[in-house]
Amino acid sequence: MNYFPDEVLEHVFDFITSHKDRNSVSLVCKSWYKIERYSRQRVFIGNCYSISPERLIARFPGLKSLTLKGKPHFADFNLVPHDWGGFVYPWIKALAKSRIGLEELRLKRMVVSDESLELLSKSFVNFKSLVLVSCEGFTTDGLAAIAANCRFIRELDLQENEVDDHRGHWLSCFPESCTSLISLNFACLRGEVNLGALERLVSRSPNLKSLRLNRAVPLDTLQKLLMLAPQLVDLGIGSYVHDPFSEAYNKLKIAIQRCKSIRSLSGFLEVAPHCMSAIYPICGNLTFLNLSYAPGLHGNKLMKLIQHCRKLQRLWILDCIGDKGLGVVALTCKELQELRVFPSDPFGAGNAAVTEEGLVLVSAGCPKLNSLLYFCQQMTNAALITVAKNCPNFIRFRLCILDPIKPDPVTNQPLDEGFGAIVQSCKGLKRLSLSGLLTDQVFLYIGMYAEQLKMLSIAFAANSDKGMLYVLNGCKKLRKLEIRDCPFGDAALLEDVGKYETMRSLWMSSCEVTLGGCKSVAEKMPSLNVEIINESEQMEFNLDDKQKVDKLYLYRTLVGHRKDAPEYVWIL
């Protein structure tokens, strides 16, 4: 098979960057496998329990960048108890012992201790980039270690992590010699930061392109930072509260106008809505605007701001924008590809401010729309059908009606037809989340039409096992299936257990599957870990196979049962 020397193949493989393609390359023949594995630098592991760090290290000695994901997605919504797992420490420990020159680590939904961060910071001389998304378990002490020890750190990106903030000094731990920062995001930290240290850090980071501040950074510091870093491309504003008649505000206006490169704006964790005019000069260049943490911004002030953002490609907003505001988006943002509308009052008494009307308006005005996350008060089949016709390019379509079993309010019908239209029209759909009143019918449509679907999230839907079966039989590319509160039982679970080996994972909570059913899967499929999360004390003493299982999480793995599961997790 080899007509070329290895070096040539290696060079060719350098151009193949997607994980999927590289995986395919490695399967062609033994020599390609060998060349590929030695030249591989970036590895993505979607489930940290599917493989062990030792095997990773053995196969990819040239590893430089590792992405790991831990807890199941529903952990974001408090459905997975604390201490379930997803610890990064064993990975860092193993990598530290090896000769791997790790440069980049990206973690999602993992438990990261200060100890891990410290070990990380001391073990890899060329470590450059740490990205933590939805992680927990560390404090600002761990960040201090990273700051102090990673001499060539370029990126420290903290997104929505639960961090125990010990206040302050970690920013001062970046040594004077550290001038390599390109990206710094600490928006999720709740505590005070040393503002002087922050200013000095920014002033000695000429390559800084992305800076996202937390709530504790006041306006006058923001102004100083912008004067120091007019080259910023991505800005996250912390506190934006000030007197519009003050000197500080005037200075800010001047500073913002110098920042001609800003394309991405977020934050506004505290905002005085009548001071947004300072932002207008940079709105025209924005491609990403995230106002989803700024409930103080709504009504006319918000709409006026949006009207300046004609080049927007991604917009994250709260539902206080209202249907009317979405109409403004539809008229203004013709380049829009991604829209996320979050609830500003998730537990309120039905006061969500957007309905199907807003979505229809956006679909009509923004033909490039391909990614949606939409929390709304209600949805109709007619609207979904219209949206499907207007926007056949959806890759991600996630709809959340705040009342999860609400039918079409106009016709009182389930939303089967509407979602059916979406899957039929959007042939490239990869991710779908359903809500509203739904019967087995919608799953029939999904099984028939959603050929590219990789991830499906279902809640409070269906009438019978048929729903789940339609999906398992029909969606050939399905990788992640997460289900809660649906009437799917053992018959559906056991119909085709081989299917689960083709998927990353399956989550089922508050369904009808029994302990016996789960045991059966575990018996038939040794390549799967079948985990039961079992929080009620009753179940400990009642090993009746007919017992309903509260939470089931199963996933394929090459390394058998994990050893770090807590007491309430049974691995069958």
Partner: protein, 279 residues
Amino acid sequence: MESGCSKKLLDLIPQEKKWGFIENQNGISHGSSEEKKLELKLGPPGEEDEPLVSFGYFSSMKSNAKQAHNKFPPPLEDHRGGAVLTASWAKNHHHQPKPPSCSQKRTAPGPVVGWPPIRSFRKNLATTSKLASESPTSLPHKVANERKPAAPEPRGKGLFVKINMDGVPIGRKVDLKAYDSYEKLSTAVDELFRGLLAAQRDPSADGPKQEEEKAITGVLDGNGEYTLVYEDNEGDRMLVGDVPWHMFVSTVKRLRVLKSSELSVINLGSSKKGKMVQN
């Protein structure tokens, strides 16, 4: 309504064909004429010949809510009826009643655990903002507010708003509930700032006062050296005194004492009577 509303959507006994027609809570029965309106033939021909039906779904999500038409029936004894979302949805759902597990904290009617699917980072946004931006009579919230709102602090004992004065770098806070008229507020302003203003004029006065403290008067009628303005809940600057006191109290967010000579420079929002308020 058929017996006991007990159409079990989640009926696992194989009688799937018999989905049946059920009247929903409004007593409207849905037959095939309703579905024809939304005819979208996506299903394969000749497959399921059961037309779409609606089911007696009752939402208890808004159990406290104003939507009067969403009444819900008494909880079913048969726990497999997942159609009825009662407050203890998660427990009724299974065959045998389970003791409340640690992830199901809510006992009162309220949101289901993990719904809506948003991260905890986003959950407190509304309560923080509502308390900060709405009037003292804000909406009831089921979620306990863990964060302190920005000024003013609405419920409970007082209504404290910030008050700043031109020429005085340090602001004060005043409890509007302690007054019942503009006159009393005006007097309070004088009391709060008279000393501070004098100190600003003569910062070296650390011994006995070298200058008389001047009373601050005429803040409401445009005749004095200073004028009282406020910022309302829409962010606009308004002259104090136009509206009835109680209305003022419900919309005021902060106060400012400005030099009257500067008034023409500053934009005031929707001041109907113009800049000078006549007594």
